[in-house]
């Protein structure tokens, strides 16, 4: 094992890693998303054709994953702001992370039916 891989930080380090990974992921999607939306300047047909692929079950699952990444990045970002600007932020950083993860889990569970219901009906019939 090469040197420098022994450090295994706890909540602080792993939330930093997750924040980075989700951030890069969202940014790359953003390029694609501006390009696909730009098709409204080409023709309604071109736009609707591309958006039709977004309604397929596999892409719907990827949209769910993207939303999960965005929601985590948003909640953990608010935690980072609290750590930086709230005087007691650093002391409660762990509790804030687990609160963010808990809230993230509840909201993502609640989003399963509205986001994936359509794909499920298409796959398994209504």
């Amino acid at each position: 094992m090469p040197a420098g891989t022994l450090y295994r930080g706890r909540e602080g380090m792993w939330s930093w890693v997750a924040h980075r990974v989700t951030g890069v992921l969202i940014f790359f999607f953003l390029f694609v998303h501006v390009l696909d939306t730009a098709l409204v300047r080409v023709s309604p047909e071109a736009y609707d054709e591309v958006v039709a692929t977004y309604k397929t079950p596999i892409i719907a699952l990827m949209e769910y994953g993207l939303s999960a990444a965005v929601l985590f990045h948003a909640l953990n970002g608010l935690r980072i702001i609290a750590v930086d600007f709230w005087s007691k932020g650093p002391r409660y950083q762990k509790q804030m992370l687990w609160s963010a993860v808990g809230l993230w889990l509840v909201l993502m569970l609640g989003a399963i039916y509205p986001m994936l219901g359509h794909a499920a009906r298409e796959l398994f019939g209504s």
Binding site: R20, I26, F27, T37, R41, Y54, A60, E63, V70, F85
Partner: protein, 160 residues
């Protein structure tokens, strides 16, 4: 000559006599990094601090803009299945949603570009690699912001 004899500077006879005495004091040495009249006001500018602050300010605004966007587009009222040219035309008929999307585009692109700039600075070790990656990043960012802005401002619901 006694071996315990010392000069005023504390240097013994082995090291030799001190060059300095009351009439010929040692030169004054400035403390390291002391701010003097010759020091520039700021050596590197405050860009990194401004970028750090921008990430937090834009972040708070983006939480509202992006989560609202996701709720409307992907969660409420049938989710993604309702989206099409007609849906976009209906939303961009209102200046409120035009401003919403324009603000979201600019803030998200700049927030993401600055984030990726940090990632490049962290992981690209060679100066040339950093230069090229950041050149590519800034080019793609400017292009995407301008394209998105153009689309929002020139959108024509009666294109066909």
């Amino acid at each position: 000559m006694s071996t315990t004899e010392k000069t005023a500077s504390g240097i013994g006879p082995v090291e030799g006599a001190s060059v300095y005495n009351v009439d010929n004091p040692a030169p004054y040495i400035e403390a390291p990094r002391k701010r003097t009249k010759k020091t520039p006001k700021a050596t590197r500018g405050n860009f990194e601090m401004a970028a750090w602050l921008f990430m937090r300010l834009s972040g708070v605004v983006l939480v509202v803009l992006v989560i609202g966007h996701l709720l409307i587009q992907l969660v409420l009222d049938g989710g993604v299945s309702k989206i099409g040219f007609a849906f976009v035309a209906g939303r961009w008929a209102s200046p409120f949603w035009q401003v919403w999307d324009l603000l979201m585009l600019w803030l998200a692109m700049l927030h993401g570009a600055n984030g990726l700039r940090t990632v490049i600075n962290d992981y690209a070790e060679r100066a040339n690699t950093r230069l090229w990656l950041k050149g590519l990043l800034y080019t793609a960012t400017v292009f995407t912001i301008l394209l998105g802005t153009l689309v929002i401002f020139t959108f024509d619901p009666n294109i066909r």
